[in-house]
């Protein structure tokens, strides 16, 4: 190599400004939209798609980012949360990514958002028609830890062969007296496919049922997209004598006093001091703005 050309530099220096709206090219978006349409048509079914390599690492939301990029339009308002909060580093990073590559408006308000990308939580605020909730999914296959082989699990889904999952839940009950799955708790969608809700705490499972918003799930590394269309039945797996239950906190949020939300435990000192506060920061702030107060506020 004698002299370096400047071709590569020019290409890279143009950076985000030189990329298409929402980063992905239009052919890729079309491919993803086709997968989404199929996913919506077969609720809970994992549709393989040609996941692209994104400029953020696998496992950090590449599936969610691709789904969001494929559904975003210029008029959309985007909210991104991680662990329920708009302020966690990865949520900030993904929000900045879309602000930079699409120039669309962003918000932290659940009610004001048209597209919400999330990792590990469903907002407390009830979603409404026309909204899209995009989940980042690490392992889309609910049967993966019971059967590591894709060829096997696909067959099990095709035959609705979900006995293994029920045996696993039953073994929990036999050993602990109750089901010991606290997050990524499996659900059955529209009476057919057993689906992984992504690692949301099971506290959030009931919010998926009959939800007015469209729920889309993107797994980039595992190359799967699945969906729950609006107003679809989503049942958490259970037994007649061991019905599904959600986590309960024995105290309200220390900031806004809410008694019906999922709480983060915050260690406040090294003497065992701790308080519990809403994991959904937007919901908590809204309540405080409306005059609600907890014991630490």
């Amino acid at each position: 190599m004698t002299a370096m050309s400047t071709r590569g530099f020019a290409r890279l220096a143009s950076g985000a400004a030189g990329t298409n709206f929402g980063y992905l090219d239009e052919q890729t978006k079309r491919m993803i939209r086709r997968a989404i349409l199929k996913a919506v048509a077969i609720p809970g079914y994992q549709v393989p798609f040609a996941s692209r390599e994104m400029p953020m690492p696998y496992g950090w939301g590449t599936g969610g980012v691709q789904v969001t990029a494929a559904v975003l339009g210029p008029a959309d308002v985007l909210k991104v949360i991680d662990q329920g909060s708009d302020d966690t580093t990865n949520a900030v990073s993904i929000r900045q990514f879309f602000a930079r590559t699409s120039g669309i408006a962003t918000t932290t308000s659940t009610a004001a958002a048209s597209v919400i990308q999330t990792r590990h939580r469903i907002p407390e605020h009830r979603l409404k028609e026309g909204q899209v909730l995009v989940y980042q999914v690490p392992i889309p296959e609910p049967l993966r830890f019971l059967e590591p082989r894709e060829t096997e699990t696909r067959r099990m889904h095709a035959l609705s062969e979900y006995g293994l999952m029920h045996v696993k839940l039953y073994e929990d009950i036999a050993r602990h007296g109750h089901i010991a799955t606290t997050y990524a708790y499996p659900v059955q969608v529209a009476g057919r496919y057993v689906m992984d809700p992504s690692p949301t705490p099971k506290f959030d499972n009931p919010k998926m049922d009959d939800c007015p918003a469209l729920q889309l799930f993107g797994a980039g590394r595992e190359r799967r997209i699945y969906a729950v269309p609006p107003y679809t039945r989503v049942r958490s797996l259970e037994f007649e004598d061991h019905p599904f239950t959600v986590q309960r906190f024995d105290r309200p949020c220390a900031l806004c006093g809410a008694a019906d939300t999922y709480l983060d435990e915050v260690v406040t000192d090294d003497r065992g001091g701790r308080i519990f506060v809403c994991s959904d920061t937007d919901h908590c702030e809204e309540r405080r703005a409306a005059g609600h107060r907890g014991e630490a506020a």
């Binding site: 580093t89 602990h176 997050y183």
Partner: protein, 370 residues
Amino acid sequence: MYVAVKGGEAAIANAHRLLAHVRRGDPAVPELGLEQIAEQLALAVDRVMTEGSLYDRELAALALKQARGDLVEAVFLLRACRTTLPRFGHSAPLDTGRMAVRRRISATYKDLPGGQVLGPTFDYTHRLLDFTLAAGLPPPPPAEAPAEPDAPMPRVTDLLADESLIEPSPPEQPGAPVGDLTREPVSYPTGRDTRLQALARGDEGFVLALGYSTQRGYGRTHPFVGEIRAGAVMLEFVPEELGFPVPLGRIALTECQMVTQFKGSGERPPQFTRGYGLAFGGCERKAMAMALVDRSLRARELGEEATAPAQDEEFVLAHCDSLQATGFVEHLKLPHHVDFQAELELVRRLRAEHAARQAATPPMLQEAAE
């Protein structure tokens, strides 16, 4: 009053500024130029191009510089660039028989048409640190031989093929679709084209360890290096509107043909089978390991019992990509406190129930139980 933690935005921006500062290092030391990286760290560049699936020395050198020499991070940068590039189609099949050979060795023949050409190799060097290099002394000029431009250098596998001792190359299938796992999701079982692509992109360390495992009995194939050849090959492309091949330029490649034993089956006579490895530049270790694993992954096709990890297509293909692996391992750094909270609540409850059971059991029975 408690205030929830904020400020992720400023923290990220500051972390990136600090990274840029640390990457540059001591400003009194001259900054590395991309030419220096491409010329003097050529094998790192080759590896980044191979696993990055993008033949561009300049961009690979930039990726290495930006990644502070972290090869996996550099592969990541190159892949993220590649993903934004349009794909026009696929090239005409490479003819490595017409390679401008810089290195060519065979372990199965003492001598052969075209001869053994060592080329620039670490093989047979004594691995002693060279302090003249630290002092920056210029190396002596290379030895020269008279050029023999027309000397034929047939592939060793073609020599054996004359006797049908070795399985022939699969017949050419003009017009048949070529698998591309960057454009189509893999579904198992998949074709050899896609497997070879996955192995070529796969992490060198992982593919190396898998190849090694086959030598140690986990899916043994009794391999011989039929031939390793490295050099430059012309890349040709057939534009639809022209209908004839147009040369795009030369690329540097290393090819490995591994020859392995096969006792034969009901349908096939005893014959040597082959494993194939191909990598950009001088990634010889990678090409060899890839050839071993390619052969092992043909177990099903050859009617062999698949018992070892290297024979398990789904296991190998699902785990060989360094970006997928590093992304998912490193995502554990991301906050998980919502799920951890759910587990905390469960463990507290289990402990409370355990304590209640203990309290309800008379002490004598407790001892008896132990």
